[in-house]
Symmetry: C2
Subunit: 394 residues, 2 copies
Amino acid sequence: MPTANQLLEDIAHVGRDTDDGYHRMPWTPEVAQLREWFAGEAQVRGLEVVEDGNGNQLAWWGSGSDALLLGSHLDSVRGGGAYDGPLGIVSAFAAIDDLHAKGFAPRRPIVVANFTDEEGARFGLACLGSRLATGAITAEKALALLDDDGTSLAEAMRRHGRAPEAAGPAEWLRDIGAFVELHVEQGRWLADGSAAVGVASAIWPHGRYRFDFTGQGNHAGTTAMGDRRDPMLGYAATVLAAASLAERTGQRATFGRVQVLPGSTNAIPSAVRAWLDARADSEPALDSLVAAILTEAEQAAARHGTGVVFTSESVTAAVAFDEVLRDRLAGLLEAPVLPTGAGHDAGILSAHVPTAMLFVRNPTGISHAPEEFADEADCTAGVDALVRVVEELA
Amino acid sequence: MPTANQLLEDIAHVGRDTDDGYHRMPWTPEVAQLREWFAGEAQVRGLEVVEDGNGNQLAWWGSGSDALLLGSHLDSVRGGGAYDGPLGIVSAFAAIDDLHAKGFAPRRPIVVANFTDEEGARFGLACLGSRLATGAITAEKALALLDDDGTSLAEAMRRHGRAPEAAGPAEWLRDIGAFVELHVEQGRWLADGSAAVGVASAIWPHGRYRFDFTGQGNHAGTTAMGDRRDPMLGYAATVLAAASLAERTGQRATFGRVQVLPGSTNAIPSAVRAWLDARADSEPALDSLVAAILTEAEQAAARHGTGVVFTSESVTAAVAFDEVLRDRLAGLLEAPVLPTGAGHDAGILSAHVPTAMLFVRNPTGISHAPEEFADEADCTAGVDALVRVVEELA
């Protein structure tokens, strides 16, 4: 029986780039290889794999209703780590191995999910697979999303042999009675304590917002500073203002993605497009953080004779996980309860079924980067926790 | 006989993108099409086209030594205008048409050059063709330059059927007695006066400098602001400092190109690579401007727990054009004399042969952008000036 870490090792080469980060974008050869691996591991364990119209894979131990859903996702951000997503899936497979070995006979179906495109790294909207399956986004809107090369989700699915017409609310959702997603912690809450595994209380509300700074492209050598309308200056001022506002209010604001037109060293940009990721401990706090950043952006753009257009691309409300399930698991595992600033498919599913999350300790707290880590003993503790959860709930 | 504007119209569709900017990168199908056009226009006029080992095309009217060189370049920056480069070539062809019609018999050879890769938009170093031909850069160093996709100049040439081994100092240079490059003005010096054509006095010293800001990639949602080492903050502070320092000292500083790793909305960057274009009215002024920007960058990076590595990619010394030739042309044309902040192949050639530049009025002063413009009457005045220059010098 392979351990969770051995299963991770089996896929460690897929989508790995030269600096040890992972690039596992949805509907690419790398993710296709991971999906094949998922189907193979499910088959070895006697699980029946069903794929819905959105590309979500579900591996069933047993059939029927009121199933207990486990699993997570296999895609990554650009340059991501090895654990964010895959740890939840390999831990579910390893837990099933343990349960099989013990001769455990579940009273309800157990399902391991591989949700497609959790990160939103390609089409700009996170949790696309779970949003589509639950109807949190319409198929029409999702299929029209474009990647950086102008390829739509519909076209990307077609290139991988999928019929985009099948995308939308999934029937399997009716048969799910509860969802428990195990995930590597993406912060240092557990790192400073003695517990290897924690239970999530809530997900902070968060959003992605596009800032289009517009100016006048011109020659970098011949245009006097006073004659410029350089949109890069408004962008730069907004980056600093966002960090300072978030720090002052205890919230979070990040500019991690920027596109410059024309993008030549010797040309003043005509446009700078940048995305703000903002998170806060309450919805009013998020609203006022974003409003304050926008005010700073508008003032900075105006100071430089440029403009800024603001687009709220997606905002995800706060999620408070099911209190009964949370307290039951925290008691069972004697695990601490902690909040998170990260979005998850569990956050989307929680609007439909009682949902909980288990976090596995990450000594550095780093995530979405090659340094993301959980040590082997803690990964084993995560699998053991999942085994106890299944024994308790199924 | 087509006018200069009609010749420009003939190539107006090549490399034009949807927002009316031009993308004419060296060693691409777009520029191959322009090179074919150049060869055809030369042939129509009875000129013999010779290509050197660097890809520079030279169209000869007559042969022998002490030739008068005209021409410019056909490549563009990303999203550039229609005039920067091509105007010098179409004006030279139109001037030759006028001289042919007048039955003018030159006493020395006349050559129209199409210098390859003047903008440096693909491989990061401007005036590559003239630098190679004059030995201002070694073939070894130039051929190893990489574009954003990791393709070397050597490989790009090979893909277009050229032998990179032939790159290096060109024999034609020995046969050139003088160079007069006509170019659209890239500023508003002429726009506010009554002259359609001016003569260049000097090119400001200028350089391209790379700033590599390094930090710690991490999750944008779960990493508290105080725990971050976000390289975007050092970059943003440096952008603002550079603009402010350049404005205060009357010099020029621009950040027009930036790359973010990993470049995901929900990830704090691990690295931000940005290029500074800096220009000044003297070499000491350029040195102190760049040093001051670097100091600000280092201080900003340190404030955010990040680092910065500085690389001077290329620095081009000040060019003072040949005074005798400059005064002769300014007197002949009764044209004003003006400096420029833009680099040109003429700046490279001026170290080897008496060189002058004619600028054609640009009513907006905008360049390296779709709004770059010269009206038809001024383009005609440019051709007329070139005719008089050839009559005077050849």
